[in-house]
Assembly symmetry: C2
Homo-oligomer: 225 residues x 2
């Protein structure tokens, strides 16, 4: 299989990705897109069903070229050639300003547009599921039992090109620190929000002599997002 | 203004809300919907633009009957009568099974369908923005400067009925604890994920003698979601 050329380091500005609002929060760096995708494992997948939007959460992984999506939730709506929109958002905190109007959210968000492809080749499907599994839980693919032929056939995997995407990022303090409202004497700033992995909870049916493997145990207390 | 009748305690099963997959994860309790909405403040708003889906994150609040959405991000697409789908998802942890196939996510998710209404009456807009502000930061509305007429006019607020909604919840251990894979001797269970509010970060331009107000300070270290 020939390798496709690498995607551009600058995100393309298309009809769908050009920022119309809050342009200063837009980023055109593909590195920002990759970082946002790598920081999460659940996306919101949007499809059009009978002319109406449907947005469902699902898990994803990626390689350099494309996103892999667990597609069952939307599979009845994705019968080939159907455009989707995939959005990944990390909420980093509340922006607490001196006025209601200047309130906001610190966040990182990626929006990917495209027509997904159903992965049918068993080898590619296995590779894609490996990306997906390792994305959520690094080290897990080689620890657990991998899919057999029947399970592989029962799994719907979608591949979506990472070519057409847009990124928005907001960080830092509110914007009204040098306006007239700064004279009000009110506290203003950011209230950060952080996601943290907790202590592994064993399946109650698990034999107590089976220890938590290192790749899972060492995540406890680390930051996610 | 006459009060509309309360919404049904059981969520309606319509063409859009009937669960087709993972039916055991579906809930028809409106109380579950309300709890999921109250646990977050960012939703994913899906709209159809030129026949293609667009999914953007935005903030929301609610009353007993409807969701209030900060609608600017999607306002160019919402010119009246346009159906939307609003999804709120809380990711509670990874479900780590003995086989790749049984892996999953513990989560709570609400999906609301409807045609939003642009709120234009200044009094209703103010009340809706209050809900939205207090939803994200209880106590903040009366602490900061409230919107003036010009700011109110510049804000797009949408109201969406909470009538047509569906809920999915998954909790607990993986499902393969009593299958043949349980004999593999592998660790299995849940890796919980928790969102926590951090220490307030003052705006660098803030005078150091302005203290963090109690309604913000007391959130530090509390769980979100």
């Amino acid at each position: 299989m020939t390798q496709p050329p690498p995607l551009s380091a600058t995100l393309p500005q298309t009809e769908l990705t050009t920022h119309r609002r809050l342009r200063d929060q837009g980023s055109l760096r593909r590195a920002d897109l990759d970082a946002i995708l790598d920081a999460g494992f659940v996306c919101h997948l949007g499809v059009v069903v009978d002319g109406r939007p449907l947005v469902v959460p699902t898990v994803y992984g990626r390689d350099e070229q494309q996103l892999y999506l667990h597609g069952s939730v939307a599979s009845r709506s994705l019968t080939g050639g159907t455009p989707v929109c995939v959005t990944v958002t990390h909420v980093d905190g509340l922006v607490l300003a001196r006025s209601v109007f200047e309130h906001g959210v610190n966040y990182r968000s990626a929006v990917i547009h495209g027509v997904p492809r159903r992965v049918t080749d068993p080898e590619e499907k296995l590779a894609g599921l490996r990306r997906l599994t390792e994305h959520a839980t690094p080290g897990q693919w080689s620890y657990v039992r991998q899919p057999n032929r029947k399970e592989l056939a029962a799994t719907t995997l979608l591949a979506l090109s990472l070519e057409e995407a847009s990124v928005k990022i907001r960080t830092g303090a509110p914007d009204d620190g040098d306006g007239p409202d700064a004279e009000l004497g009110l506290w203003a700033g950011e209230l950060p929000l952080t996601s943290v992995w907790g202590a592994p909870v064993p399946d109650p049916r698990l034999s107590p002599d089976i220890a938590v493997p290192g790749h899972i145990a060492r995540r406890e207390g680390t930051r996610h997002g």
